[in-house]
């Protein structure tokens, strides 16, 4: 027994004496995880978050969350002698007077951007592959919660340094708060400790940024991971992979090395980028003052969609009974995001209800095999991207020398017209791919071998798809739409809930009626026989030695391979 094993044995023994952990340890080390590149997106999010925590903890040692005005006397010459808040001054100190401070600030900012980007792409992966279906609905909701918290954490952190850009962002947030009916003004006065900007907000936001939100993220993240562990990871269809098993590599050693190594890669890449690429150079923006702003003010990318919504909304404001309802702010900043996140959170149940599918799913859908879901996702993404483009309308106008008014007007219409078009196109593309899959099963794939028959005809040899591909194609689920419901019983009495049932049938048709069914067994057998037959009758079979076997009628054929 080697020394390492002995030590390990002793440790395990010590823990086991107190926690009876050996069984758990054994099962966990041997736990199998399926492998796919897209499963790493969530990992990137997790690892970036760890980097955010590490770098953020470092920053708290130097950052002073105070809005007390002081005169800057640090080593950044252009701002020497300028009055600014302590928050801004300490951020300058971190950037210019503390060795490694700038690096850590940039690591913090870059990893936060990575975190939100990875969450967003991970969410798309989970959506488009149907990984949110039963039994993982709760984890989907937790994921939506994590995204919300991540956006909040990002915005709060962005606002802390009290530079001109972040202060402008806060001013916008405060303007949005004021638009909330009934309580908005009070909310703003309580949050800011009076009028904007006051002197309380940065220290209050600091508590939210370093304690409340990260605490919530940690709690949600833990629940998220425990559920993934407990329910086991989903897997893509393939040979040997069923809804009842998990095929992949053991945690130890492969996943420990791969996932552990991947953490270091994510961390390393973020650090390298932070060393090489400047992010959020607050010293160029200057300290915040409420009467100055720079042209081309832009939030971080993940707030761009909200910014775009604000920019695109027409200026509707109502005055009713002496009170003001600012729909021009309320709709884009509160109502639309509220609807988006609610629909997102409820989507697993919406789809479940519409399709009547209450079974457990551990095998992922290929996006083409759920055309309506895929098309809905593409539609939502288009909507998001158009909002995002709206957030950059000034940059687009400046860069392409276009009128900002026409860009805004085009977007105001496009936001309603383009997403449905994308829906239709995506659904058609999915159905086309389904047809192609069916075609491949029935006619095999085109080998690229062109043969000339004795009478001069050219044919291309088709060969059956490989066993692996066949397993993938054959895993397409067969999902007939729900049958029409009997709306009256034999006595002519209307069934209770008939309207809901009718709607549900309609929805399930909407989801699945156009699906291209897999070939039946008979069709497959006939196709297989035909493939064999075609080869035997019309064309020679190429044997293992790549020599020609003559066709049935003994004709001599030309084989390009032997030229």
């Amino acid at each position: 027994m080697s020394a390492t094993v002995k030590t390990a044995g002793k440790t395990v023994g010590w823990v086991d004496d107190r926690l009876a952990s050996s069984n758990f340890l054994k099962r966990s080390m041997g736990k199998v995880f399926p492998e796919h590149w897209s499963f790493m997106l969530g990992e990137i999010a997790l690892y970036s978050f760890i980097v955010v925590l590490l770098s953020g903890t470092y920053l708290t040692l130097f950052f002073k969350p105070s809005m007390i005005e002081i005169v800057y006397n640090g080593s950044y010459v252009p701002l020497k002698g300028v009055e600014m808040s302590e928050a801004y001054a300490s951020t300058l100190d971190i950037s210019f007077d503390i060795r490694g401070g700038l690096l850590m600030r940039q690591v913090h900012h870059w990893s936060a951007l990575f975190f939100i980007a990875a969450i967003s792409v991970h969410l798309c992966r989970v959506f488009f592959t149907g990984a949110f279906r039963k039994p993982r609905e709760m984890n989907w909701v937790i994921g939506v919660g994590l995204l919300t918290m991540a956006l909040l954490a990002g915005f709060a952190g962005y606002s802390l340094p009290d530079d001109l850009l972040s202060g402008t962002g806060l001013r916008i947030a405060q303007g949005i708060m004021l638009s909330i009916p009934l309580v908005g003004t009070y909310l703003s006065f309580f949050v800011f400790g009076g009028e904007f900007p006051g002197t309380d907000f940065v220290s209050r936001l600091y508590a939210v940024h370093i304690l409340v939100v990260p605490g919530l993220i940690l709690a949600l993240l833990t629940a998220h991971l425990i559920m993934v562990w407990y329910q086991k990871h989903t897997q893509f269809p393939g040979p040997g992979r069923t809804n009842d098993n998990v095929v992949g590599y053991r945690l130890m050693p492969i996943y420990m090395a791969k996932a552990g190594g991947f953490f270091f890669i994510v961390f390393g890449v973020i650090t390298l980028i932070s060393g090489l690429v400047t992010i959020n150079p607050i010293w160029l923006y200057g300290p915040y003052t409420p009467d100055q702003v720079t042209a081309g003010s832009q939030p971080d990318w993940y707030i761009g969609w909200l910014e775009g919504a604000l920019r695109m909304m027409p200026n509707v404001e109502w005055n009713i009974f002496g009170y003001t309802l600012s729909l021009n702010i309320l709709v884009p900043a509160a109502i639309v995001p509220g609807i988006i996140f609610t629909i997102m959170g409820l989507y697993p149940w919406i789809e479940q209800w519409a399709t009547g599918d209450k079974s457990e799913h551990h095998l992922l859908d290929r996006p083409r095999n759920a055309p309506v879901r895929t098309a809905l996702g593409a539609m939502a993404l288009t909507f998001y991207i158009l909002l995002w483009v709206g957030g950059g309308n000034d940059l687009i106008a400046a860069f392409f020398d276009l009128s900002i008014n026409s860009i805004t007007w085009i977007l105001r219409f496009a936001i309603f017209i383009v997403p449905p078009l994308v829906f239709v196109a995506t659904k058609r593309i999915c159905l086309g791919l389904q047809r192609r899959d069916r075609d491949k099963l029935l006619h095999g794939f085109e080998t690229g071998n062109i043969l000339r028959l004795p009478h001069g005809e050219f044919i291309e040899i088709h060969a059956p798809v490989s066993a692996e591909e066949r397993a993938v194609l054959m895993a397409k689920p067969n999902r007939p739409p729900l049958p029409a419901v009997e709306e009256v019983d034999e006595n002519g009495v209307a069934m209770p809930g008939a309207r809901a049932a009718r709607l549900r049938t309609k929805l399930s048709h909407f989801f699945y009626a156009d699906d291209i069914p897999l070939p039946t067994r008979e069709e497959l057998e006939a196709a297989e026989a035909h493939l064999r037959h075609e080869v035997e009758e019309a064309a020679p079979v190429v044997d293992e030695d790549r020599r020609l076997v003559p066709a049935h009628d003994g004709s001599v054929l030309h084989d390009p391979a032997n030229d």
Partner: protein
């Protein structure tokens, strides 16, 4: 954790299912390193080299930390002039971390025993018997408490539980003062002298050429700001002065609120409060850089484009006996973003 209640041995059905799935797996293709010992040794060297490279980078990081002054700049082609300390620390630390990762993954891909395996999932739901017995147990235990049988206790407890969080909300009351009417008030009042921001110089009409724009504030702002120790007054009092030919003025918010073609408007956007200063002098349009609300200063500051719903409030101005610009009165309507209690004015 997940299947403590299951027998340690997998059932025969399960073993059969695992065997069937394993048989269906694509055959394991031996890697080069599996069959060629030289390739394996090469991989081993590569991995060790990466780990050693990481260690070296850590040493270099410490050297860079100690040696390079924090304010040292350096020109690097493709990056421009950058902070030498930041780039050296970032690159060494980044590589020290990255190389551990690449080494570990290279190791797993080239040398670790990789074998695809099959494990069975088990139903996540408990058996119906388990569920029933859980519900039964719950019923028994809750009966022991008498929660259901003693409505007086139950209701009084619910009342207490519903009320006790209220103090936590009430205590938030002192987060800030009540709004009152302060959102309608600014420092501007009758006779307030207009001074240039930030030089604090009073403005004569002749200081402002036709087509010009300057940012300005009330003369007492710096003092008030100093007294209050915050920027609240500034956030409301900031104005811009523009000058155009008097005949170009289509309309104003009040009769003769200009002074010889000089108009004063609030600088704070009526949308969500960004300061506005992008002025297009030929069209007299003022554009907010945040959300592109556009106001026509020659036409009462009305909104001509964008999400803002209200015109920019105008400040009536004239000159004092000394010939400096002053406010005739305060703003007639609240400046800045709308709020619920604002109403039509």
């Amino acid at each position: 954790m997940s299947h403590d209640n299951l027998p340690a041995q997998t059932s025969q059905d399960e073993q059969a299912a695992i065997a069937a799935a394993t048989a269906a797996l694509p055959a394991h293709r031996p890697r080069r390193t599996d069959v060629d010992p030289r390739a394996a040794r090469r991989a081993e060297r590569q991995i060790a080299l990466m780990f050693l490279g990481s260690a070296l980078m850590t040493v270099l990081f410490i050297v860079a930390f100690v040696v390079i002054p924090v304010d040292q700049n350096v020109y690097i082609w493709g990056f421009g002039t950058v902070n030498a300390s930041n780039i050296a620390l970032g690159v060494t630390f980044g590589l020290a971390i990255l190389l551990i990762g690449t080494g570990a993954i290279h190791w797993s891909k080239k040398l670790m025993n990789e074998k695809e395996e099959v494990q069975m999932r088990h139903s996540l739901a408990s058996t119906p018997q388990d569920r029933e017995s859980a519900i039964e147990a719950f019923d028994t235990y809750s009966a022991d408490s008498g929660f259901a049988q003693r409505p007086v206790i139950r209701r009084s407890l619910i009342t207490a539980m519903a009320l006790f969080p209220i103090p936590m909300v009430v205590m938030l009351r002192d987060l800030g003062p009540l709004p009152g009417t302060v959102l309608r008030e600014t420092l501007w009042q009758k006779g307030s002298r207009i001074v240039i921001d930030p030089t604090e110089r009073p403005v004569r009409p002749s200081d402002l050429p036709i087509g010009g724009l300057i940012s300005a504030m009330p003369a007492d702002l710096p003092e008030v700001q100093h007294e209050e120790g915050n920027l609240n007054a500034r956030a409301k009092a900031a104005i811009i002065l523009v000058r155009m030919e008097p005949q170009e003025i289509v309309s104003q918010q009040g009769e003769n609120w200009d002074y010889g073609g000089i108009l004063a408007f609030s600088k704070i956007c009526t949308h969500v409060g960004c300061p506005i200063a992008l002025y297009e002098q030929r069209s007299h349009h003022l554009l907010c850089p945040c959300h592109q609300s556009t106001f026509d200063l020659a036409d009462s500051g009305n909104v001509v484009f964008g999400p803002a719903a209200r015109r920019l409030p105008q400040l009536p101005i004239t000159i004092d006996p000394e010939g400096f610009l002053v406010a005739v009165d305060g703003f007639a309507e609240p400046v800045g973003p709308s709020f619920w209690e604002r109403g039509d004015a």
